[in-house]
Amino acid sequence: MSGPSDYQPSNPALQWIERRLPIFGLIHSSFVAYPTPRNLNYWWTFGAILSFMLAIQILTGVVLAMHYTPNADLAFKSVELIVRDVNYGWLLRNMHAVGASMFFVAVYVHMFRGLYYGSYKEPREVLWILGVIIYLLMMATGFMGYVLPWGQMSFWGATVITNLFSAVPYVGESIVTLLWGGYAVGNPTLNRFFSLHYLLPFVIAGVVVLHVWALHVAGQNNPDGVEPKTEKDTVPFTPHATIKDMFGVACFMLLYAWFIFYMPNYLGDADNYIPANPGVTPPHIVPEWYYLPFYAILRSIPDKLAGVIAMFGAIIILCFLPWLDSAKTKSSKYRPLAKQFFWIFVAVCILLGYLGAQPPEGIYVIAGRILTFCYFAYFLIVLPLLARIEKPRPVPNSISDAVLAKTGSRSTPMVSTAIVLALAGSLFAGSVDSAKASEGGDKPPGNKWSFAGPFGTFDRGALQRGLKVYKEVCASCHGLSYVAFRNLAEPGGPGYSVAQAAAFASEYKVKDGPNDAGDMFERAGRAADYFPSPFPNEQAARAANGGAAPPDLSLITKARSYKRGFPWFIFDAFTQYQEQGPDYVAALLQGYEDKVPEGVTIPEGSYYNKYFPGHAIKMPKPISDGQVTYDDGSPTTVAQYAKDVTTFLMWTAEPHMEARKRLGFQVFAFLIIFVGLMYFTKKKVWASSH
């Protein structure tokens, strides 16, 4: 993209095209012959990683949109059907949802890299500003995408974020009505968000083209911050940068696959497995982890308008960075003070992210205010001041000098950066977890589940017993509306045959119709039918149960969680612990106590449960010893019932879990070999250049 190319393809057909549209020359000069500084480190591979992530998001998103229904009544269900019934739908959805998080991981690394090495300085100001625009577009796209599953957090996140605009003086209310297309967040809102969520990624792709164009005009910055002077300072993009980028992408894919296959819900919020309910606000509204620092800034300002201005200002200020930091030396490598302040700034951002997930009270508010001040002070006080008072170390004459000087001594900052960033990632991600509500309930004890861990599978016996417990006990109040009888015969499930599943279905009466006379009628269930719900609608369920509707159990083990707290959520990312939901459900079933502890008052019609948030639960003790008979000789105790029915409900929440973990192992085996191959190829290619 930098000037005309003298590249001529050798193939006559390509020559014919090239004379009419010099596209091969463009590709050749941009991605093959393009000179890239020879001292780039691995932080520079994140540009390629981001392009890869954008492509993945667009590809998976287009396919997901083929199966998704943007309607407030159907959206939640359609997402569940994608996960349950579409071929590899669970994989598509996990790739897309985790992909959004990974996209942001990569973009934050990319931005901090730019900040550290001064990549925003002359002549790269426009390049930097285009990057900030991409980042803003990404945030808008990510937010609107999160609304689409139409769970509780989707709905209330949309409510809170659109209400930010009501802070605008005079026209605020009209702007909000315009965003909603109604008087509250509702179906019109979902429709327009879907439309924009489909559009914006292509806008991002367009701005990325401009970003890359600007990059290829100004040339890449590099860790030493001196511009390439001679041919010795650069290497051709292909094969050097290409192979290095591919190695970087492959390593990143390992991280990506870890979450897709083993911890798909770690980065999300359990509340989003509860369908949106405009009448009930979740106890904590927490945005996705990548917005948390800005959410913390919003909340630490006591005035509404000022809070909104500060939040947007925190991003917009990045646009002015090239002029706020007027230091001549680009790379912080040669700026002893700037380097230290940079790491303090990274810590400030991480802590702000942590605070964004905490309830806005007490010490958290004060800490939030101090850190918000630090955030802005870095840009408005520290950087302008440093440019005037700091005495930078001498910069090498040229890139090749820098490379020669460095040979032999691998720089230690790489290690410390890696540690800080690993900490950053896990702290950020996990802070979502820690915000999940479960106040006033005891911590459920951990259990040994057969389905836990990277090779976990469901215990068939437990699934079959659990189904029996559900059918004989739970089903009188709780629905299982996303599970069809045919699922019972599917691989990875309770292991019934197709005939057994059909026989099981035929014991149920299912409403069908209308027939030729226009009447509804009842018939025996078929394998394709879903478990009938005990109540016709939520209101009936509420009325019959003293005001508290028994929740549908299809997703209950994914829709419930409890606070893990610091530092457990960090360890969880490595140990793959994600059984908070099952632990909670199993504990709840065993948590009834007749003797109410002192200081706890239980209202009339409620029961004391040790693990229920607030302790007062409307559901009476559901099961007692010996209530359900087991044919296989398992003990008929409450503990065993709880374990079996929880296992069964884990399967109903994720029927393809075994396929997910199995495919995960294959993907990991492949990726590790691929990464190895890439590494040695890269070493070979670069052998002559180091």
């Binding site: 409510t159 209400n163 965003l179 109604g182 327009r192 009448g279 509204i285 009270e361």
Partner: protein, 138 residues
Amino acid sequence: MNPDASTIAAGAPIEVDLSPIAEGQDIKVFWRGKPIYISHRTKKQIDEARAVNVASLPDPQADDARVKSGHEQWLVVIGICTHLGCIPIAHEGSYDGFFCPCHGSVYDTSGRIRQGPAPTNLVVPPYQFVSDTKIQIG
């Protein structure tokens, strides 16, 4: 991108019968997709709302400006926190009024903001009494 005709039509006024609401109770009805709290306040709650020094409030407004005269026991407010739109919980918080679980705003028995980040009182929707036991919202 403004609301379409059907959305506007669905937002027409609604009538609510107040007779089943006992003293000290409240109900939640939906109008224009917004939850509206109708509270039948007790004598104590009314007195609490009236005893405050109005000038000391963050958004000064007297209780009798927020209810219809002759119907002081009825408080009708839109149950949407004026901070960022969450739904406050009735009968909670240190002022016996409403408490918003999202960012901790506390409203009193007149729906006035007393504590927390919300800038203004809970909004009183347009409504009038069509009879002693029936109101029309909208």
